[in-house]
Symmetry: C2
Subunit: 241 residues, 2 copies
């Protein structure tokens, strides 16, 4: 926390997938329902991990200009198609079943303390969602999960993806503040690193169960950040909210 | 209401200045304070009307390509500078006083029933602010007025201004719906006309005091719209929310 002054923060930007909502639990539960419907025996939890593994590489191809900008839904659908193929079950999933799986990422449960902790932060700061999810996806997800954001900022508005610096800087520009006046909150080292590189302040919120029971989540100790907290209430405590 | 089916609406987009907040009362009150501070005798209400009169022409110059896109704050500042000059009081207002006047548009009181009526609409529909105010201005204004929107959509995201069709269509595109699935709510004929031309459904909410005591407000009877209501609660009644 050396050199960190909460008074210099005007906006708190929060990552969504993993940081405020449980993508693993939400997608695995919905995938299990789809798999049962099409009578395919796949481990929904493992499948969810494998699907998410394809997320960063897919976005990197966009960020590095290998392909034109594409919605997260499009990237999810492409990686889903490849994953079903690799499991030899592509023939079992028609377009409607695939669409239901892609839409699973639109409705995910909030972590238990997230809404209450965010509400505390919102009393003092402008509170923005800042995610690689599309604007429509985020609006739907945040509404259904009843997370109290002041505004939705999607990487779509920068036509790039985190950790590309233009995404973080677009958020600052849209909210008419300097990058250093934004505190980025995330549970992933790559997101914290990207925000730091773009000039933002950072807070690591640990989500040990983020990747389910089989994978280890990122840990605050492995990443340089201005603040680290166990959840949003602990972050609100650190900021005196 | 002939041919209007509320079931076909998925998003309600609300104009802000005049429709959900009282710009006349809010700006006039803040301007009176600034005028007193710099010891200038100007009728703050009349000044506010004159300033707002310069709003549509300034935005039209942007829409019609006479000048590059500029933030609403910039347009407000330019028209303010010209207005102070025309009143022969330009020398009395330093940069800080002018900045305070421009910022008056960032903090405006909600109409009494707006928050409650919007909350009813939000239970069934995705509720978006859709205004010519900048993204930062709208985020600040909506937060301070405690209006329960699901997301902020500014004309800034289209780098144009209403009633340009690209603003309405950008809102639909960002929210991943067809224009005809968006119901635009506004108290101005020009906004309703623009939304209709872009393919949106429309609801006129009358705000008879919108322009203060000296000016007549737009009336629903003079504009073709799908719905017309006296306020947001009446609109919620019409939509069965």
């Amino acid at each position: 926390m050396a050199g960190f002054d909460p008074e210099g923060v005007r906006v708190i930007a929060c990552d969504i997938f993993g940081t405020t909502v449980d993508w693993y639990g939400g997608v695995a539960a919905q995938a299990a329902g789809v798999f049962a419907g099409v009578e395919v025996e796949l481990d929904a939890g493992m499948f969810t991990n494998e699907w998410r593994d394809m997320y960063l590489p897919a976005m990197r191809r966009v960020r590095e200009g290998e392909r034109e900008w594409a919605y997260l839904d499009t990237l999810h659908r492409e990686s889903l198609d490849a994953l079903l193929e690799s499991h030899g079950v592509a023939g079992k999933f028609d377009d409607a079943a695939r669409a239901r799986l892609v839409r699973a990422w639109h409705l995910l449960p909030a972590w238990p303390e997230a809404a209450a902790g965010l509400a505390r932060l919102r009393r003092r700061y402008t509170l923005a969602a800042l995610s690689n999810g599309g604007f429509a996806l985020l609006t739907r997800l945040v509404k259904a999960a009843e997370l109290p954001f002041d505004c939705i900022v999607s990487a779509e508005l920068a036509r790039s993806y985190k950790p590309g610096p233009e995404v973080y800087r677009t958020a600052a520009r849209l909210l008419d503040v300097e990058p250093a006046e934004v505190l980025m909150v995330a549970c992933h080292g790559w997101d914290i690193d990207g925000a730091r590189a773009a000039g933002l302040r950072t807070a690591f919120v640990e989500r040990p169960r983020e990747k389910g029971p089989r994978r280890a989540a990122d840990r605050a100790a492995d990443t340089e950040s201005d603040l680290a907290a166990g959840d949003f209430n602990a972050l609100a405590d650190l900021l005196g909210c």
